[in-house]
């Protein structure tokens, strides 16, 4: 079980930075009182962030991934989470086979 000192410090630094981001929102949140458009913008944070994370895979990798993402979206509007994942994985494998 080898742990390199530089690797250890890098990991500890990553952990500290990550915890800061996790707790910072809670600390600042007390100062936010939102309504109207600002509230709509704030409520859009969840889908906006989640979509941004997957956009490169879904939209900028190849047509099989983009088509599979479209099929997965249709599945997601009708099926529970685990079934949605199964549909997504199965469709990307099938479409890559065609590519």
């Amino acid at each position: 079980m080898r742990i390199d000192p530089v690797t250890l410090w890098t990991i500890l630094g990553m952990a500290a930075v990550t915890y800061f981001t996790r707790i910072a929102g809670v600390v600042f949140a007390g100062r936010l009182a939102l309504s109207g458009r600002a509230k709509a913008a704030f409520e859009a944070i969840p889908p906006a962030v989640l979509v941004a994370v997957i956009a490169p895979t879904a939209l900028a990798t190849g047509w099989p991934e983009t088509a599979a993402a479209a099929i997965t979206t249709l599945a997601a509007l009708r099926l529970p989470l685990l079934a949605t994942i199964a549909v997504g994985v199965a469709s990307v494998v099938a479409l890559r086979g065609l590519a």
């Binding site: 990553m14 981001t21 994370v53 956009a55 895979t57 900028a60």
Partner: protein, 241 residues
Amino acid sequence: VAGGRNLSALLRSTDARDGLRDIAPVMIAAVPIGMLFGAIATSKGLSVAEVALMSTLVFAGGAQFAAIEMWSTPVPVAAILFSTLLVNARHVLMGASLAPKTRGFSGPQRALGFFFLTDEAWALAERRALEKTVTPAYWFACAAVLPASWIGSSIAGAFVGAFLGDPKRFGADFAFTALFIGLVAGFNKGRITAATVAASGGTAALVHVTAGPPWHVLAGALAGIAAAYLAAPSAPPAEDA
């Protein structure tokens, strides 16, 4: 609220059962992704112990994949820490959004509980908050159980990575994407959400191709938030909360 005497009651509560039920599919979906992470990390020269340590202390898949992508000798520590900050900057927005929904938490419950903040647990808690209160029992059952899957599968991937072959053959690399699409669908509120998704997806893909990672996350998120601001009526209907 809670003192120690309430702990066992918390764990037996329906809130805790709901949390476990909600996180279960996420824990399954995390297994191929964790294994993929462990396999790539060891291929970059990390030991099994280092993989386990990173998955335990950092516990943030996106940032970990970005760090491993940049990993070389000597380790570019500053670049990796900056990338970690950018990829995880979304946590600030997520925490700010979730904070008013976790008012029942004590100080220590928050300090410990938000260590376990992930995209998935947060999305589930936000969805829960639409209908019910997010209690400490729900949050800890949901968020603090996920590391078991992530750490375990990272270690397994680090051990067996070399024998798995190309994860793309099994579509395992797409499980994460499918999971996020499923989570986004849970937030669907019609026109405003459609505008958010289109702006965020289009901007993030464009920035990923031009400026490269990790900027696409920040740019896409901001574009999606701006789109929701513009799509929303400037004078909201009364009592629409």
